[in-house]
Symmetry: C3
Subunit: 310 residues, 3 copies
């Protein structure tokens, strides 16, 4: 049976948007430790001028696989208030962990609705607070406490989004040829990294084709166990010519896949499209339920279909 | 009398955002067929690295005319649901056409309101569905069935936005000097092409001045028959120095124009402004009524004023 | 006592987004008049290709200080309607000034709420109109009539946002080394300048570190008199590594500062992040009350703390 130990480890490393240093260091170390087992040695681009993102260039990259490092979470504001990082979806009572100048933190998320006083029509909004035995330093990022669950059918934990995508990209490294692996930041909150990495790859290698290695949502049309999801569109619309070539490939290869058509959700693909470089992109990954919560669940068979397609 | 046969043909070619291949091919063929009649021969940039956009560079371009190829429409999702491409405004009952793996499609648009279950305040949202004798392949784009109407005063059809702008740009080709014609994609949905074309023109020719060849909306201040509209602002605000030079030119040339001041609506001008290159831009075009519907109507006199100004 | 004459003058120069020519010229003149008193002479980049923005490069810039020139305001539309430029917050009755083809304007702002007919749920929206003895030319920008108020504790006027930031940047010029001062436009409305200036600095000097010289808002956690605000986040999230280095510096230098954590508000920092270049950025400035109104108030002690930190 497939061993998901590496994925479990990845899910437990805190890396909210803007603060991905620890995960960046873990991956760089992993690459240095494992590259001798890979078919070819990638050029490694990281550090100065790359913020906390990493590019691994195998050969002469014609295609790039983007996997974002950052996750949603919460950030301590004034008093016991929390502000969202990205779009976390945990319920009241979730356990959050972190670290500030006074030591480690394990606190409880409190969530309630309140009328927005600034809204003319009295619209409601969510209020997030923490319950802890002391005040937390302003700006401290908090993440879900990891709770890995696995059975024969599925795996479940916080931050499958997007440690699955990162894991999938790392697994690909063993026999990659003329492709780049890209680990980005800022995907969950506003974007920003994909643009400059896109520029770097375009100018360095003429590369302008991207696969987005991430997880999507189960929905009316996308089900657990029905295979890897190929997104025909989310908020953004990828080039349909490029999309059709991928669908054709998946069909011919006999891979179990499902076509996703949504009007919301974005990815580094959207950021690449809005950049000053002519990128083609396509989102490919397994569906999960309970997205952005501590309980993100993915089916193992969908993971296998995803690995078949990449 | 002016012959609008070419515009009529353009309005009937489906080209929703992301899927402009057919219109791209039509225009390339048109250019190859007609360029011998033009005063000067443009350099043609298309294909690899340009997605479905096209750049025609006449001489050494000091100014670029941007006309977007793509149109709004609908995209088949799950069951008989449709998702919007851009912001279509058709009423319930409109006829939509398309093509999928099982053949040609002519179906009826169904539109209704429903309470948004995800909204805390029970806000209403529009639901779009199709009525057809079979299910349509996921992701299939659907467009309005063209119905060209013309009298002495006006022309009316779907997709005047922006086949008028495309037609206007093609008409200019016969005696253009030191200017570029740019056919873009993604204008109706999220943007993305103007940015990389803007980069291309800036780096290739030092060109950073754009006119946006498109149609605008009739409104409280913009009327059919009052001439070409020069937009002083929409969602974006063009450089007022540049705008004033255009207004001055139009005044001195005795062209019938009307000044538009709106707080909404965007164009490739907005995308150029948000890019990493210092573009000046101005939106110039005739007003239409029933925008983004199957019944977009433009006055012929406003078309003539537009052609006078360009 | 500190003399704020220059800041008072800056607050009185109209420069709504897109129309910053007059302020651009004032600053260029100021630079030419005063640079002989500065420790080193900057290279001046302005004019062609820079729109109304200005870059002063001292030595070999490792860091850039961004101060936006433009302010919020209103723009004459049809009839006596006004459209917002950026997000002005004046109350009904505020005095607006401007200039059009028929001469100088001093009119009264009328503000009322109205049900938005286009909204399905009958949401209310603000309507802005002017009261004046004649119609105003379409597109004419209107700004608050300046009313400078100063006592021992505070200064108050319209457009502290961002003439304070501009003034702060100009004050720094006297002994700046290996840094750039950047005056941008479009910050209050959609953005656009920071992107191309960011590209220019990155390509010319390899510079990709920015301080945003601006004012922020008093809030639950940010108080008048508590020192300069260092923003840990607003709508955007700056690189936390970079932020921590600034906080450490401020702490070691014994500067009075307060940490801001908000979920809204943006700046040229956001624009730099979304560009194709890997900028680090941090927002640093004093808090003000009554933001975007004619009565923006800042404490002098917070100004001094700001100048200490820069």
């Amino acid at each position: 049976m497939k061993d998901y130990q590496l994925l479990k480890t990845l899910c437990a490393i805190p890396a909210t948007t803007g603060d991905e240093q620890q995960l960046n260091e873990f991956i760089l170390e992993y690459v240095l430790d494992h590259r001798d087992d890979w078919d070819s040695q990638p050029a490694i681009f990281a550090g100065d001028g790359f913020q906390d993102s990493i590019v691994l260039a195998f050969g002469n990259p014609r295609i790039a696989i983007f996997a974002h490092l950052d996750s949603v979470g919460y950030c301590a504001a004034y008093g016991n208030r929390l502000i969202k990082i990205g779009g976390p979806k945990a319920e009241d009572g979730a356990i959050l962990v972190g670290q500030d100048s006074r030591g480690p933190i394990e606190c409880i998320l409190r969530k309630r609705e309140e009328v927005d006083e600034k809204d003319k029509d009295g619209k409601k909004k969510d209020i997030f607070e923490y319950e802890f035995n002391r005040e937390i330093d302003r700006g401290t990022p908090l993440t879900y406490k990891p709770d890995w669950r696995e059975d024969t059918v599925s795996i479940q934990c916080c931050y499958m989004d997007n440690r699955f995508g990162v894991w999938n990209a790392l697994e690909l490294c063993s026999n990659l040829k003329d492709a780049a692996i890209v680990f980005t930041t800022y995907e969950e909150h506003l974007g920003g990294t994909a643009q400059f990495i896109g520029r770097f790859l375009y100018k360095s290698f003429g590369c302008r084709t991207a696969l987005i290695s991430d997880v999507t949502l189960t929905s009316e049309g996308i089900k657990h166990g029905d295979g890897v999801a190929i997104s025909m569109r989310d908020k953004g619309i990828p080039r349909q010519r490029f999309l059709r070539s991928i669908i054709q490939h998946a069909t011919q290869a006999g891979i179990q896949f499902q076509l996703e058509v949504e009007d919301a959700g974005g990815s580094d693909g959207t950021q690449l499209q809005l950049s000053s470089y002519p990128w083609d992109w396509c989102f490919i990954g397994p569906p999960e339920e309970n997205y952005h919560s501590p309980d993100e669940k993915i089916y193992k068979s969908d993971i296998e279909a995803t690995q078949d397609l990449y």
